[in-house]
């Protein structure tokens, strides 16, 4: 398996944690893992982006037009990072109101056979009383949708491994909520 994942958002949305989830998943699947993170001045309220490559690659950086999967935890960052996706890729955007996303861009994505899924991960995370886990809700959603090559059971055991003890229960709940919505909206 060779999979290239972009995780995008702004500081404080748990992008580095999400990146850790996929790193550990890669290790669990016996794959080589590479990636790249943002630190330093750009962390102060700026866009945060993490690259993750599972399988045999040389470089930790994903080039424009090469990513298989894009997770954006914020709407504007989704626009900024869509260019990373290859034709036929898939993106998951944390978005309160899916109808708000720019129509011309959606049409263009359709032409490139890029699957676009918007989901209100913030809303679902608030509902379970753990808004911090919106990142995990969105990842759960992607797994439930069947559009990504990650298995639910693998993700669960990774979550058990990387979650802080006090967060584990809520992280699991967040993941399952995401999975449920992802699989019911499955096409």
């Amino acid at each position: 398996m060779k999979t290239q994942i972009i995780l995008a958002g702004v500081g404080g949305q748990g992008i580095l944690f999400a990146s850790k989830i996929f790193s550990e998943l890669g290790l669990k699947l016996g794959l080589n893992v590479m990636g790249s993170e943002t630190h330093g001045m750009s962390q102060r309220g700026d866009s945060v982006i993490a690259h993750l490559k599972l399988g045999n690659f040389h470089s930790p950086i994903i080039r424009t037009g090469a990513a298989d999967i894009l997770y954006s935890f914020e709407e504007k960052e989704a626009y900024r990072t869509l260019g990373f996706l290859r034709s036929g890729g898939v993106c998951f955007v944390n978005l309160e109101d899916a109808g708000r996303f720019d129509n011309k861009i959606l049409n263009h994505l359709r032409e490139k056979k890029i699957l676009f899924r918007a989901f209100d991960a913030n809303g679902e995370a608030s509902k379970i009383g753990f808004v911090r886990a919106a990142n995990i809700v969105l990842i759960g959603y992607s797994v439930g949708s069947g559009l990504v090559p990650f298995k639910r059971d693998d993700m669960i055991s990774v979550l058990e491994m990387v979650s802080r003890k006090e967060d584990l229960e809520m992280n699991m709940k967040a993941f399952e909520v995401g999975v449920r919505h992802g699989s019911t909206e499955r096409i």
Partner: protein, 631 residues
């Protein structure tokens, strides 16, 4: 021993830390700076996890860090010193000299470069320092290679008795990779200093002898690097091809991915160089001979390209085939390759960008995010007060979170660590010479003051300069990821060191007027600034120093929980946007109709400072929290 071998995904800097630990290194020193800051905390973690005796120090600056590591090496121990690339400027005096004297125990210098730049004032190339000082340099492409190179660097350093540089770029330091952990080497070495004044205290005539020896050592290392195939090797056919590419660091691996994807192997070979100085010249010459044209791709500058003797076949920065500035991202590399392959008639690469998508996104006119001080940051309160009190002053500032006082237009200069004060004294002297008295308000953070503030300040006092210095003391080195300072007195591994209070240090520099205040008390700070200005104008006055002390909210969230002042904006708000233009708090934003301001409750931390900011008094503490209002 200690633990089983296992594979973990490590950040490049953590891999470097692991390499340091696996080498049995005894002493590790550093001053924090992006992209190097994660090395020391990772060594601390390994020390605790593995029960090691490693001495680890956050030093007060990079030169201090260098000298402390050097001394350990002179006692026969292994030592590493880590810093960002501009930190090596500060440590360069020690570097140049220690190249001549050499070392005993392995001394590895890690200087992390920042092409881009992402978080630095220059895009300088640390490898030039290796050439300048005449020491060998390793240039890793990946975290794994960085870890392995650290280990070889220690061995090379001991074999040739010379300091060795490791130069990771940000794309190595902040890359992640699955890496196999090996057990640490156990090196029982007791400190032993053998006196040798002709070496360790060499006067100029002995320095000439040391220089001669150094040149001989370099020859030996160059021969070693000529034979090396671990870091310096070819990819592709061993025969000739139309195009050869000589490359290194993060560019090498990015090019490898592009080559595999495009399947252009038949048109070109790659020579990967991991030891750019001393350059394996024969290897380079041989590679160039077998190719019609050779493209040199390295970053951020031209260390390899400059050293190539016969450049007649060489394309690179000097022929403008590679951009002279900026990061060599995969996109830039792709464009370089497309241009060169096209020019040589070898291949036509399809563009990878999607201009239609770019245009559609451009049309959205997305707001440009700029780095900004956090909501509730005490430094914002200080900058607001400074600008309000002296709207036409000159504001020399410095390197740290508070550089972002730029957004409040209360920062005019950011040159290098310490220059907040030295530029203030320089400005004073230049205007004073013309009998002009203008307010000069210098700002500097606590960590920067400990780094290089004292020499600047005592010079200013000594030479009768007059200005106001506001030391923004948030009791931590915040920008680089919360490293402790001498003011806090906590050392790198969390143990208690000795506190050095700023007040005492400032007094020791000869300052007679020192006041300490919490910048959240904006109105009192404004009063104090006016007094401070008067002192600079009195006949027997001088430099006045205000220590604006309030803990960083990210590091000490509990402190801000103690004094919550929840605020609301009432109907008196007329949408003048003064608070947004002059206070620039991310938690204040124009409302949808843009006829007033609203509070982003997700971002607001209830510091209550904006109550003193609104000229119409339209921002007020809410009824619910009035009881805890601190003013």
């Amino acid at each position: 021993m200690i633990q089983e071998e296992e594979t973990r995904v490590l950040l490049g800097n953590v891999a470097i830390a692991r390499g340091i630990v696996e080498s049995g290194c005894h002493v590790v020193t550093s001053y924090p700076g992006t992209p190097s800051s994660e090395i020391i905390p990772a060594v601390v973690e390994y020390k605790k996890e593995l029960g090691l005796k490693t001495y680890i120090e956050w030093s007060s600056n990079e030169k201090v860090a260098f000298d402390n590591a050097l001394a350990a090496s002179l006692t026969g121990k292994r030592a590493a010193v880590a810093m960002k690339q501009v930190g090596l400027n500060v440590a360069s005096d020690s570097l140049m000299s220690s190249a001549y004297t050499g070392v005993i125990g392995g001394l590895v210098i890690i200087s992390c470069d920042d092409p881009g730049p992402h978080s630095s004032q220059t895009e300088q190339d640390s490898r030039f320092y290796a050439m300048f000082a005449k020491i060998p340099v390793y240039d890793p492409s990946t975290p794994q290679e960085a870890k392995d190179m650290v280990k070889e660097a220690f061995e090379l350093s001991e074999e040739f008795q010379i300091p060795v540089l490791l130069r990771p770029t940000i794309r190595v330091s902040h890359a992640k990779q699955s890496i196999e952990l090996l057990p640490p080497l156990e090196l029982d070495r007791l400190a032993n200093f053998e006196k040798d004044p002709e070496r360790w205290a060499a006067t100029p005539c002995y320095r000439l002898i040391l220089h001669t020896k150094l040149n001989k050592i370099l020859q030996g290392i160059q021969e070693r690097f000529e034979k090396d195939t671990r870091w310096n090797y070819e990819v592709g056919s061993t025969g000739g091809a139309s195009l050869g590419i000589i490359t290194c660091s993060a560019s090498f691996v990015a090019l490898m991915d592009i080559f595999e994807e495009l399947d252009v192997k038949d048109v070109g070979n790659i020579l990967k160089i991991g030891t750019p100085y001393p350059l394996p010249q024969k290897k380079i010459r041989d590679f160039i001979e077998r190719h019609e044209k050779v493209l040199v791709i390295e970053e951020p500058d031209t260390v390899i390209e400059t050293q190539i003797i016969d450049k007649s076949k060489v394309l690179g920065r000097l022929t403008e085939h590679v951009p002279l500035q900026g990061e060599l991202t995969p996109e830039v590399l792709y464009d370089i390759l497309a241009k060169v392959l096209g020019e040589l008639g070898l291949a036509q690469l399809k563009p990878i960008s999607d201009p239609k998508l770019d245009k559609l996104i451009g049309d959205l006119d997305l707001p440009v995010r700029r780095p900004t001080l956090c909501a509730g940051c005490p430094e914002r309160a200080a900058f607001f007060a400074i600008r309000k009190t002296f709207p036409k002053a000159i504001y020399p500032s410095d390197i740290g979170c508070y550089t972002l006082g730029l957004n409040l237009k209360a920062v005019d200069t950011v040159i290098d660590m310490g220059a907040g004060i030295t530029l203030a004294s320089g400005f004073y002297q230049a205007f004073h010479q013309d009998d002009k008295d203008i307010p000069i308000i210098a700002t500097m953070g606590d960590s920067t003051f400990y780094h290089s503030g004292t020499a600047s300040l005592l010079n200013a006092v000594y030479n009768n300069a007059r200005f106001i210095l506001v030391i923004l003391d948030n009791e931590i080195t915040a920008m680089t990821g919360m490293q402790p300072t001498p003011g806090l007195g906590i050392t790198a591994d969390g143990s208690q060191g000795r506190k050095i209070p700023l007040e005492e240090l400032v007094k020791g520099c000869g300052i007679k007027w020192i006041r300490t205040i919490d910048p959240y008390e904006v109105n009192n700070l404004i009063k104090l600034l006016k007094e401070a200005r008067k002192y600079t104008q009195k006949s027997d006055g001088g430099i006045s120093v205000i220590i604006a002390r309030h803990p960083c909210l990210i590091q000490y969230p509990d402190v801000c929980q103690e004094h919550l002042v929840e605020v609301d904006i009432n109907e008196d708000c007329n949408g003048c946007m003064y608070c947004i233009d002059f206070f620039e708090c991310p938690a204040l934003r124009p409302n949808e109709k843009e006829d007033g301001v609203e509070i982003d409750r997700m971002l607001c931390i209830d510091c209550g400072v904006c109550v003193d900011v609104c000229p119409r008094g339209a921002i007020l503490p809410t009824e619910r929290r009035k009881d805890t209002h601190i003013r």
